[in-house]
């Protein structure tokens, strides 16, 4: 889709939709939303609904960051401690690595 050819109202609509769908555990969608509409929300000259768009984008960014930090922390904790968690560690693993404890 070429955003240049989309009306401001439709853009806002799209942005809102992305923001809402992102709540379905889709942080990457939030990230895409943020990148995609960043220019229109913060750089392009004012249009009606830009404020709302900024709100959605900030929300998306925060949501994404929360996910990102959360996942990063979890992955490092998991990778570091899987072996010492023993049976629990195995239970929450999809693939148990070969050749290590």
């Amino acid at each position: 889709m070429d955003l240049r050819k989309v009306s401001d109202q439709d853009k806002l609509q799209l942005c809102r939709r992305y923001f809402v769908i992102g709540f379905a555990f889709l942080p990457f969608l939030w990230f895409v939303n943020f990148v995609w509409f960043f220019k229109y929300a913060f750089y392009v000259k004012h249009f009606e609904g830009q404020k709302k768009m900024r709100y959605y984008l900030t929300g998306s960014l925060i949501g994404f960051l929360v996910w990102f930090i959360g996942l990063t922390v979890w992955i490092s904790v998991y990778q570091k401690n899987r072996a010492s968690w023993g049976a629990t560690g195995d239970m929450i693993s999809f693939l148990i690595p070969l050749g290590e404890p």
Partner: protein, 694 residues
Amino acid sequence: MAYFQIFLRVNIIFILLFSVLKIKVYGDKIEQSIYSQISGYSSCVTLLNATHQIGCTSKRKGNVGVVHYIDSDENFKWLLNKGKYSPYVSLFTAEYFTDDRLKQLINADKLSGALVLYARNFTINGTNPPNSGFSPEYPCPNEKFGLYGSNGVYSCSGNGSNSVTWNDNGSEMSYRDYGIPVFALYKENEINNLIKCYKDHNKPVNGENPDYPLCGVEMMSFMHAAKDTPTCMRKSSAPKYTQNGFCDPLGDKNVWGTLFSFADDSFTHNDVILATAKLDSTAFFHDLAPGADNDATGVTVLLAAAEVLGNLTRNDSIKAPDLKKNQKHIMFSFFHGEVWDYIGSSRMVYDMMNGDFPDKGLKLPRLDLSNIAYYLELNQVGLLDENSLWAHRDPESEEHVRSKTKTMFNTLSKFGASVNLAIKDPSQSKVQPLPPASFQRFLKGNRSIPGLVIADHKAAYTNKFYNSRFDDVQRLDVKHLTKLATTVAKTLYELAYNETNDDMAANEERVTELLGCLIVNQNCSLFKQVVTKDKAYRLASQNGPLPRYVGTDNKLNGPSGITVMTQYLLAYFTGINLNVTGCPAGSGNMSFVYHNAYGTCIGASVYSSPAKSPAFILEDYGSTEYSTWTESRWGNDNRIRMFLIADPTQEAITLAVGIMLTLISLVVTVFMYRKAEQLFTPGDRVLVINDDMQ
């Protein structure tokens, strides 16, 4: 033109033509010209117990190293101090393959793998065993699972006042966790190629490091399991999303049999005499365990003694024992997996104590530890110490047991003396404990079993190659093994029937034959004679001795070869010719009925019982009471290949040339594309209007 034929066989037209077009440029298949596969190798694998992991493993994608041949201390020192192309793969001659050197090199971060030369008959230079002996076993084998523990006066490693370091030559090499792959190479031409490759490319020149290209090898033997048995068993039982397994318990089957069937009796008293030996042995490389003094001698003597007694039953000189007259059954038992903390014996004891022996399906009377009247074990008996054999006994047994043991010993030495074989008491001068033996597990279950362990060593082992690939180097004396078989048969008879039969003598030819079949070549006439026709047919394609490493419990083709063969031998020696048509199973109380290769129907009371450690029944993988040894699984892409390692500078040049060429062509192309109209205009300055190109 060989490559053409290769491609022809592949029969893919495209590749065919590809060969026509470009073979002229590139010759045969590239991989074959870069790599030389080494097929004759045997690898060290990872085993695990309750607390540790031992053995070897490669990284998942294999370990690569520069070959360095170590056939002298000078070469070893050079690698340790001067070699700059780490990591190396050291190629040891047998003499220099020691735990100490391996550890030094690994600690110095020099090694990514190790190789050792091997030839069964030492036909290759550098495969001769060290003169001082070589035993990768513990100095105190199986100590923690034996009777005396690791503390106290009789403990081996605890250096108690009465302790004996049984295997004083032991380097514990088999029990180290090296973390690198270690292979033994045994094909002469491959070894020569590798050494030639080393000499051509890697040999230090005047003590200096050689130049590239270097000769390298890649070793692949990636082990799936890690840490210890509890971990790998837990992971094996975790829900599986992939087909990977992690480890399997060690185990096989014990073989046991009786002279007369138990079926019509029931045991109330000390009614059974147990004569045992162990079936397994091991080595650093499990496949290369010849198991001569350690296991074959004991098995041979016990089987020969069984034949002597079997001959008497066949000509009716002895009858089934009358238990009411205080006569006893004679039972032979061969334990498997004894090397690995007494797997076979501890399982039989466990079953006896739980009332599961013999297996309920056999419909035999229950045999308990307390029903064992005497216990006679044949350990290593091939290499005489002070020209005599030694009957070891438990120094801590109670008085009434000790007197029975004394009776046993007297009987034994009396019959030994009658055939000119000295059997002495090693505790005469200084009281000493039992050596590592299956009997220890029986005593652990019931301390009041009188018994003796016959061995060729008074204190420390006379076998300098205990549980190593060189166990078959030493000369075994067939004459005294024959005498021992006679002695054992007579002793068993007297203990069982309270009477002497002088008409007993083991056959020296039979002992020689048995020993040859067990140690030299399984493809022998005796083996082919005792088994069924199709098994004999399969034997014909075999070579070398039967593998002695116990292996994992869930073998695809049933119990190991040595187990099956022992079963047949015991049946052949103790059984009778049934002379029935059809040879149906269960004829005349016989459990083991079969047609041998000559078509004779043989029936015998021979059975097998599980030799899987009780720890795996109890699911107590951290057990300190029962063996917890497991063997790691590994992938099927194990290999070793040899190749040249190119100079990294040259590789960098290749890359640089590539990048330069691309950049130059970029400049030229952009130039020509931009100036296309001007360049490609005929001299009369005709220009073509071209919207696209601007």
